[in-house]
Amino acid sequence: MGASQSAGTEHEFQDLADRTGFSLEQIGNINKRFRQLSNNEETLSREDLASIPALDNNPIRAQIINAFFDKRNLHQNETGTVQEIGFEEFLMVMTHFRPAAMGITEEERENLRRDKLRFLFNMHDTDSDGTINLEEYRRVVEELLSKAGTIGQETAKAIADAAMLEVASTTRGKMEPDEFYEGITFENFLQILNTFDIETRMHVRFLHMDTATLRCGKSK
């Protein structure tokens, strides 16, 4: 019984490895952590993540946790949130934090870039309407400065406004006074973070990362 189950897990892991590009070892590590977080349950809830003590000091903790339960990040073409995620979903979110493999083509790099930026964009776009409007952006900056006390809250609005102005002016150019910039679309988002090397910056060093496997998974 136990043997057959472990064989099933093995097969499952192989399947996941093929789809996500993680190595079996990495999946094993992440799975171990998943079980630890979910208290050996099949699914993980928000409370499980919120109880991680190290996250307490993170100003954007709520946003990070939300990202795990956001359907858009789970490679499903639907919006909204789920209450609990299984291991597969957990792993799917983690795929956004894989490093770029060596020797990938320009196109792959561009896709990777879009993928990573999309993840960030979705974190900002809380109402899933495809644009980050001023309110949402202000909230992002407020969250970011939420550990800074009162100065943070006072300045957050100004910073968000300045950032929004910057977006508007770089993407639209000159605007007439009666025009209205409704919010940052994903295209705008790509444009303003043009010089931001997200593909080389947004990654986490998963334990014992094996890039050879990664690359196979990628180029399939």
Binding site: Q36, T155, F180
Partner: protein, 812 residues
């Protein structure tokens, strides 16, 4: 008509005063420059004297002096009205000449178009040095030992290294620290032993006439020649604009390999005397390396923290702030050198440690001064070093040995390539962003040698190393080879290989937000993964820094400021400065680019400005007029000067409270909004202004705002809001009188006279107001007091206020 005259007259006198002020500032700066240059080169004097180059001159001078004295006592001669005594000033004069030459050369290269794009500046400077050396030789003089080791290590090198350390991009540096250390330590060791060992092997071959060269001197030579030189790397890499990763790899290596070089140099120098090397010595060497590098960093960090701590208390003596930084850094360097620790690492550590805290503490002007002085010193030093290299080439005795020189050059290239390729192979196993073949090529090719190697070679003892001359010749050849051949070809090669270049975009606020966001996100994901990677530790360190260190080292409340807010303030301030300096006000400040204003992004809660209300808009001319008033008021803030004070340069909001300035700027933005609203008759009650300047601006330009002030300050004489400082009742009376006169419509000239008189009386009593206030005050009182109705008339604005109401508060 009358308004026009009044508006123009203050601006005329202001520009005159401004020019005077400018002249004063320039004089101060010039003086400062001269003094510091003198101070910087003063150890140089002793260095040159020590070398004995001028001993005979001193003797001569002494004799001449005694002769003079005897003449005075015994025979009475006519008093010399004009006499020439060149020796008296010779040393500083010649130093100044060198510096002048270097600066003029630097200037010249950038005036010739296209030249600087083909040939790197360093090459041209060496050529200039060669020419100068040749000229000196032609003139029959002895070429001075310009690139003396003392002079080089104590005067020329520190500014360059401090500049590099202070402006070190910490983030990429720390992200790649492993790779950099690998190249700097293992790579340099490899180079030294490979070059030294193989050179020894070559020397043993019969027929090269080099069999007298032993192994240890060869290894010593190898360790001198193997280190990549920060000065040469900086000079070349700054021109090719390579991407940040490669730049920091090569540059970081050149900085950190200093410790290895120092240890190897001292080890081999020591052992060449002793002869035998035991395993014990190797162990001691490793320990020595750790002490030299870590000790250097510790010394630097201690001085850096001291500098930061000192800068906490300098808020009352702003002018000497930059000096503290320079002196502490120099002390760090000297202290490290005193124990034969790595001075370069000490300087780097000092600069990097003090920077975040010092920047938060010192005033903006001091910060600019620091930046400029560092850049100025380092660029002059760099220029001098290259010129001196050329001169030293002409001067030095040479012992040319074809085999030795060519083998050196070839071995250096080969070992560098093997070292980089081999190390990258290992490093890439651990790196997430791999180094490509192109990257490896640039890293290998960018390994330029420079003046540090020459100076180390120059330091060698002639008696211990009979082949010193040959070594020096080989070192110079290697330097010339790397600087000329590699330095000149690296730029075309970078283009040819299409290596990723540096993006020249300025940092935008969005990028800063996302940098912060990403940091927290990655830390969070690492925490969720349960993997304590470097994001986790970085976050821990950051919080520790914020909680304890910043509190101790940063004065006031600013230590609480998160990085994002600091960045935002910096950006905003820069824009404010740009705005004012560009003649400001034409486009009023919106926080970022001016094409889009706040209303474009503001969600429309209020009904938007509707066009169909068809109310009279301002014509262009009137708008211009209002803007002019705004502008002149903005400039007045800058002009306010307290009486001359040795400890403060210009005491105005620009100096200390730039937060005040930001506040004012924000008000201006509000004002701008109000201006647009005014044209639509949407009167928004403004906040009660507390800054006199803004009051003036409001009063002068915005009748509606004036209205608000009046309403809020009922019973208080309005004149108090109007002026920069409280007036005595006497002058208020005076003004009341004149405002009555104004109401009755007196002639302009009389009004002007009255205003001037009143102001003079006020100024006499009011010390704080200072000299510069007078003309400004005259104008502003005119605008604020009785010219306002005039302005109103001129604008023919059918606003809600009328003249009678306007004058009411002035009546007793």
């Amino acid at each position: 008509m009358s308004v026009r005259v009044v508006l123009h007259s203050p601006s005329g006198s202001r520009s005159f005063l401004e020019r005077g002020l400018l002249l004063l500032v320039m004089l101060i700066f010039l003086e400062g420059t001269a003094l510091t240059l003198g101070a910087a080169s003063s150890p140089d004097i002793s260095a040159q004297d020590n070398t004995g180059g001028h001993e005979h001159l001193d003797d001569h001078q002494g004799i001449a002096g005694s002769n003079d004295r005897t003449n005075y006592t015994y025979t009475k001669k006519a008093f010399p009205v004009l006499s020439l005594d060149y020796h008296h000033i010779q040393v500083p004069f010649e130093i100044s000449l060198w510096v002048l030459l270097a600066s003029l050369m630097k200037l010249g290269f950038h005036l010739i178009p296209r030249l600087s794009s083909i040939v790197p500046e360093s090459c041209l400077l060496i050529v200039v040095g060669l020419l100068v050396g040749g000229l000196i030789k032609l003139a029959g003089e002895e070429v001075p030992p310009v690139l003396d080791s003392n002079l080089f290590f104590l005067c020329l090198l520190p500014p360059i290294i401090l500049d590099a350390g202070y402006f070190l991009p910490i983030r990429p540096f720390m992200e790649n620290i492993g790779t950099i250390l690998m190249f700097a330590v293992v790579g340099t060791l490899w180079n030294a032993f490979f070059v030294g060992g193989l050179l020894y092997a070559v020397c043993q071959i019969e027929g090269t006439y080099l069999s007298q060269v032993e192994l240890l001197p060869c290894l010593l030579f190898g360790s001198i020649i193997s280190a990549v030189d920060p000065v040469a790397v900086l000079a070349v890499f700054e021109e090719i604009h390579i991407n940040e990763l490669l730049h920091i790899l090569v540059f970081g290596e050149s900085l950190l390999n200093d410790a290895v070089t120092v240890v190897l140099y001292h080890l081999f120098e020591e052992y060449s005397g002793a002869g035998e090397v035991t395993p014990m010595d190797v162990v001691l060497g490793v320990i020595c390396f750790l002490i030299v590098s870590l000790g250097g960093i510790a010394v630097g960090a201690i001085y850096g923290i001291l500098a930061a701590f000192t800068s906490r208390f300098t808020s009352h003596t702003r002018v000497i702030e930059p000096l503290f930084m320079f002196v502490y850094s120099y002390m760090a360097y000297l202290s490290a050198e005193m124990f034969h620790l790595s001075g370069i690492m000490a300087l780097i550590a000092c600069g990097a440690v003090m920077r975040p805290y010092v920047e938060a503490n010192i005033s903006h002007k001091s910060h600019t001064t620091v930046k400029y002085f560092l850049k100025m010193w380092s660029s002059v030093s760099e220029t001098l070093i290259f010129i001196f290299l050329g001169v030293a080439t002409v001067a030095g005795p040479h012992a040319w040995n074809w085999t030795f020189v060519s083998v050196t050059v070839i071995l250096c290239l080969v070992s560098r390539v093997i070292g980089v390729v081999g190390l990258t192979f290992i490093i890439n196993k651990f790196r997430i962003v791999k180094l490509t073949t192109k990257d490896q090529f640039i890293v290998a090719y960018g390994g330029l040698r420079g003046a540090i190697a020459f100076s180390l070679g120059y330091l060698l003892d002639k008696d211990l190393f009979p082949m010193r001359t040959m070594f020096l010749t080989a070192i110079i050849t290697e330097i010339f080879f790397t600087v000329f051949v590699q330095g000149m070809t690296i730029k075309p090669l970078v283009d040819l290989l299409a290596v990723k270049k540096k993006q020249e975009a300025k940092r935008s606020i969005n990028e800063e937000i996302h940098t912060q966001f990403l940091d927290h996100l990655l830390t969070g994901i690492e925490d969720i993964c349960g993997h304590y990677g470097h994001h986790h530790w970085k976050d821990k360190l950051n919080r520790f820094n914020k909680k304890y260190i910043k509190k101790c080292l940063i004065a006031g409340e600013r230590y609480k400021e998160p990085q994002l807010i600091a960045f935002y303030h910096k950006m905003e301030f820069k824009q404010a400065i740009e705005l004012v300096e560009s003649g400001g006000g034409v486009k009023l400040p919106s926080a970022v680019p001016s094409q889009v204003s706040m209303q474009n992004i503001q969600p429309k809660k209020l009904p938007p400005p509707v066009a169909e209300r068809a109310l009279p808009q301002f014509t262009k001319g009137r708008e211009e007029e209002i803007r002019k008033i705004l502008r002149s008021n903005l400039q007045k803030t800058r002009q306010r000067l307290r009486s001359y004070n040795r400890h403060t340069l210009v005491a105005d909001p620009f100096e200390d409270g730039w937060n005040d300035f930001l506040l004012k700027k924000q008000r201006l933005i509000e004002l701008e909004k109000k201006m647009t609203e005014m044209s639509n008759y949407l009167t928004v009650p403004g906040a009660i202004p507390d800054s006199p300047t803004m009051c003036r601006a409001r009063l002068a330009s915005d009748p509606n705002a004036f209205y608000n002030i009046k309403a809020s300050s009922d019973g208080v004489p309005t004149i108090q809001v109007d002026l920069a400082s409280p007036q005595s009742p006497d002058s208020v009376n005076m003004l009341n009188e004149f405002s009555k006169e104004g109401a009755t419509g007196q002639s302009l000239g009389q009004r002007e006279g009255a205003t001037g008189l009143g102001q003079r009386e006020g100024a006499d009593r009011d010390e704080d107001q200072g000299l510069m206030m007078k003309p400004a005050g005259k104008g502003e009182k005119g605008e604020g007091g009785n010219k306002n109705p005039g302005l109103m008339r001129c604008l023919s604005d059918p606003g809600p206020s009328n003249e009678d109401e306007e004058d009411e508060p002035f009546l007793p």
